[in-house]
């Protein structure tokens, strides 16, 4: 992925003037690593982002172990390591690793909570339990992270098994542009559900990161 041409001078890169001993490593889920890196660059924080594969979400029992291994590998080279994951379906296993290694993580159950706020997400599910959430990342990668992972590319007839009880898609739009809007509409279409767009921006993610790095 190319770096933003408008990125400020104080980037996260390999600036020799600040040895990594004074820097922080942010272990981030691949599904949020890009907006994290953008925020870090814009704010000029001495942080390097280390993404883990986003598809770990479909094997959530592996997330805690992967974070643990990477944190141990990064620790000698950084002043601090923090975790850019919410609970993410680890059902507490990630918290156990964070406790063990003294790491902080993002708040909430999922990145959806981080983008929109936990109360708001709860309200979406209260209004319609059959709500399926998308983020910019999921919209962009829908064919790979949703359709292929769920086997809908090979067995389209499974659509009913997965989404038969769902009533709508809610896209938590962070940086919606025409292209993303088109992709979100196409994604909802392919699973046969109406689309609601809720513009969340990245402000909550930014405050959550700020709190994490403080």
């Amino acid at each position: 992925m190319s770096s933003s041409p408008t990125a400020p001078t104080s980037t996260t890169g390999s600036s020799t003037s600040s040895p990594s001993e004074e820097r922080t490593a942010l272990i981030a889920c691949g599904a949020i690593a890009q907006p994290c890196a953008t925020i870090v660059a814009r704010r000029g924080w001495p942080v390097e982002v280390h993404p883990l594969p986003p598809l770990l979400h479909n094997q959530p029992q592996e997330i805690a172990g992967e974070v643990r291994a990477l944190a141990r590998r990064l620790r000698p080279s950084y002043a601090r390591v923090v975790v850019g994951y919410a609970d993410c379906g680890t059902y507490g296993a990630l918290d156990a690793v964070c406790d063990e290694l003294g790491l902080a993580r993002l708040p909430g159950l999922h990145c959806y909570d981080v983008y929109a706020g936990a109360d708001r997400i709860e309200r979406f599910f209260e209004d319609q339990p059959g709500t399926y959430l998308l983020t910019d990342f999921l919209v962009r990668s829908f064919a790979r992270t949703v359709e292929r992972e769920l086997g809908l590319d090979r067995w389209p007839e499974l659509r009913e098994d997965y989404f038969g009880h769902y009533t709508r898609v809610v896209w938590l739009a962070q940086e919606p542009d025409d292209e993303l809007r088109r992709l979100a509409a196409a994604a909802s279409d392919r699973i046969g559900l109406p689309l609601t767009v809720v513009e969340t921006g990245n402000a909550r993610l930014e405050s959550a990161l700020e709190a994490l790095l403080r």
């Binding site: 479909n58 379906g89 059902y91 599910f125 809908l152 067995w155 499974l158 098994d161």
Partner: protein, 221 residues
């Protein structure tokens, strides 16, 4: 085809989720005078158990499991009336549902298939089942066991809500309560006061049978 070849074929084709072929082989077995139970216990169930084991090992993911489940369910449709005719008493009545607020149901549906294969009469209330609905269905169907399935951290507390509703309706001692779903653990099941928990479909069948045996020896019918 020899009976052995038919059983092997059923096992292999269920494993890869080839539903049309599984149905053909089921027909072929029946027209060769093979017992429905033989097809079920010597091919279909072992195959779905292997599917579960591969899922546990990470060799299969959800879609592979779903298409295998579908193939087995297709054969079950064909075998169900025949199994009923054989007059074998059902092992027990199992009422199942995904709790209120939750619409994940893949795991629940697989458990249902295995329970049915093992001789349970299964009544599936579907997804988003509210406590009142569980209570009404228990009164109506008088099941031996009621199963609650939940997949989200935010919906697991419904187990407790359901159990409270059963207590309030004076039904708690009438049924065995089992709970399950990806986030559930034995500790959690104990904490909410369920009678049983199982991590997967095969384990659920074993546990359900054991719980009923224990209950039947305790309370003679």
């Amino acid at each position: 085809m020899t009976p052995q070849e038919i059983l092997q074929g059923l096992y292999d084709e269920t494993l890869v989720g080839n539903a049309p072929r599984v149905l053909e082989l089921t027909e072929e077995g029946l027209s060769n005078a093979m017992e429905p139970q033989t097809l079920l216990f010597d091919a279909l169930i072992p195959s779905l158990e292997e599917v579960g084991a591969r899922f546990e090992r990470g060799d299969f993911f959800v879609p592979e499991m779903l298409i295998a489940g579908r193939a087995m369910a297709g054969a079950m449709e064909r075998l169900r009336p025949l199994l009923a005719e054989t007059g074998v008493a059902t092992v027990g009545k199992f009422l199942m549902g995904t709790v209120k607020g939750d619409v994940h149901d893949i795991g629940k549906n697989l458990v249902n298939i295995m329970l049915e294969g093992a001789g349970f009469e299964v009544i599936d209330l579907g997804v988003q089942v509210a406590p009142e609905k569980f209570v009404a269905a228990i009164e109506e169907h008088q099941p031996d066991i009621v199963g609650f399935s939940a997949f989200l951290t935010t919906t697991m507390p419904m187990f407790k809500a359901n159990i409270n509703a059963l207590e309030k309706a004076g039904l708690r001692n009438e049924v065995v309560v089992m709970v399950g779903g990806a986030p559930v653990t034995q500790e959690y099941a104990d904490a909410v006061g369920a009678d049983g928990y199982a991590a997967d479909a095969s384990a659920c069948v074993k546990r359900a049978k054991a719980l009923l045996d224990a209950r039947r020896t305790k309370v003679p019918a």
